[in-house]
Subunit: 393 residues, 2 copies
């Protein structure tokens, strides 16, 4: 059933109804009337939010749905990369079923669109991607999953990876991923040339994980912007993490943000409390889109993370010391409209014509929903009720 | 009923029972038998934790139990202090009832001991403290509330405050609070002389909020340590926040931590993601007790905060980048044993003789309980069941 009249919800302060036809919002306004054959839901005065968005996770890595993974891993990035490859090989970790378990958990918390990075490497080939694509297909009517073919073990440093990424894009990966062209690949110019060459060949956007700190990261970021500009890929590039933007001086930051804004390159933040991060305030002032995501959830890298995107917005609020209600709404924007814009999720929002992805929460306002991670009362995806009170419908 | 046999719980990996007599743990071990007249609970194999501890909050400031407070406050510390005083005066905010609502919320999440700072100032006098003391009395059989008489508006800068603090201690405040002797009081030596003089007169411990950054904070901290040493107040002093320890160089940090350890001065952290903080790893290596708390919860200062102390431990874990299971247990220590030690909460822990404050959670291990904020299945305070599945019993 994708024809629905949702009565008695609040958009801002005003009580409204939402009329859905064929999975899309037709009208939002007071006192709407049901049309024949339409399902009816009473929202009980709850706050109406648009479907939430996970802008950066790793559905293929999670242990969600399995017993607790006891983490005894060393501290270096390479320790974690090697440990995970070995663990997956030795346990026969199945990306499809874990991705499914976590995607459904996202849905119960109101996230109806997910950008997931999926490892592509010369050990596993496209196995993880095939698994996530199977889940993407299976859940297509409820959760929109966008896949990023991600060279977690490096691109140039593991010969054969570029060819695998080429096949991944041909096989339906939506986005091409990248990883630390300087720190991991040791040859940033060539690494980025190969990466942007593949993106250009397939006409696909890119999303590059840039953990490199300070001036090293800022240098790599400039190389990314040069190629974005040369290929006219404005609006098609995301830089994830971009810790370097939390570690350069104010003048340097201003210059980099100016170029990011001019090329419409978006930034993804997980708002890690233990790392320097791009300032949400500075990004907004410069006109740079910053959006939010978990990164890994309960995997061999991290025991933390949650499919609750309001919890991620709360962490973004805490990380940026956003306290006023109007500021807390900036954090909400990171897991809703800004994420849709950056990832290219179409037909988004609470307006006629948009896909009817709706979330009802027990909160008086958006700031309360974020700061207190308000319970989800109802989740609607493409006009169909998919969860009630945190349980799948 | 404070005689209880709690069957079938896990302490670490082993299934055990817990036998409680007169509100205290008598035995923990396999296959214990109920004694006559004893209540019986089946723990269903859940993980057994000791009662959680909130080491630093402000029960008198919270809006918990009231409609959402829309925050439109300016960014400076003094904006927030003035705004709150005005808001409380104009709304007739009642500390007793709000403290009660929040303390009961803590209890439902498994926190059975709370250190709360309570504003004492020349506008309100001891009104807030009297309110919190009324709640302390009312809830004494379920939640242990320790009060800190706290000069939120400054000590020297508001003449008459020292006399109020003197009365507060005479009236049963457990601890004497302090606030930024340099940044707020503008006369650190005299401010600390007055403060330590009062503590010495009443034989009470002190807990000083030190937000001052970098070398200024380090200087003030030294003045605190000098007085701790002169009065032999080892083990009786807490420094809350101590942001300065996240902002000095390694050699300076080593020296300060060495003195803190030698004088058994403990540190309290809320692990704010947007401020420099003392490193939990460095504190542990130096033998300094670091424990955890929320600070304000849903008040005019902040929209964030939660009575769930496992959520606070999670934030401490994230702030300190603790990922291995054994490291995540350090964060748990901050809201359990380390907090009991620092605040002087007696008879604490999971051992014969300790007060029977017990929490059952749905988790395989402590790391999972923290990182995933495991649901509370059962809360026992002084041997009596006080909450089940997040609802008051």
């Amino acid at each position: 059933m994708t024809d629905l009249l949702l009565k008695n919800v609040r958009a801002g302060r005003d009580p409204v109804d939402v009329l859905v036809r064929g999975g899309r919002i037709r009208k939002i306004g007071p006192a709407l009337e049901a049309e024949p054959g339409m399902a009816l839901e009473d929202g009980g005065g709850a706050l109406l939010l648009p479907g939430l968005i996970e802008g950066h996770t790793h559905l293929d890595k999670t242990t969600w749905g399995s017993p607790w993974y006891v983490n005894q891993v060393g501290p270096a990035l390479t320790d974690r990369i090697h440990n995970e490859r070995q663990w997956r090989a030795s346990t026969g970790h199945d990306a499809a079923s874990h991705a499914r378990a976590l995607a459904l958990a996202f849905l119960r918390e109101g996230a109806t669109r997910i950008r997931t990075h999926v490892d592509v490497d010369t050990d596993a080939g496209l196995r993880h991607l095939d698994g996530v694509h199977a889940t993407r297909q299976e859940l297509a009517d409820r959760v929109e999953i966008q896949t990023v073919a991600f060279p977690q073990s490096g691109l140039l440093v593991r010969p054969g990876t570029a060819e695998l990424l080429d096949r991944a894009l041909a096989n339906g990966a939506d986005v091409l991923g990248g990883l630390d062209p300087s720190a991991i690949d040791r040859d940033p110019a060539r690494s980025l040339d190969v990466l942007f060459g593949l993106a250009d060949k397939h006409g696909k956007p890119v999303d590059i994980h840039l953990h490199e700190p300070g001036e090293l990261g800022a240098f790599t970021l400039e190389l990314i912007l040069d190629r974005t500009q040369a290929l006219g890929m404005n609006g098609k590039v995301v830089i994830s993490h971009a810790f370097c933007l939390g570690g350069v001086d104010a003048k340097r930051l201003e210059g980099l943000l100016g170029r990011l804004a001019a090329l419409d390159v978006a930034l993804l933040t997980t708002a890690p409390p233990s790392r320097p991060v791009p300032s949400l305030r500075a990004c907004r002032e410069a006109g740079v889109t910053l959006f939010g995501g978990n990164d890994g959830i309960r995997d061999t890298w991290t025991p933390y993370g949650s499919p609750d995107m309001l919890a991620r917005a709360m962490l973004i609020g805490l990380r940026n010391d956003l306290r006023r209600d109007d500021e807390v709404e900036w954090a909400f924007d990171c897991v809703t409209a800004a994420a849709a814009r950056a990832c290219g999720f179409a037909d988004y929002g609470l307006a006629p014509g948009a896909r009817a992805d709706l979330v009802l929460v027990d909160a008086s306002c958006v700031a309360e929903a974020v700061a207190q991670r308000a319970p989800r009362r109802l989740v609607v995806s493409r006009g169909a009720v998919v969860a009630r009170d945190g349980r799948g419908a």
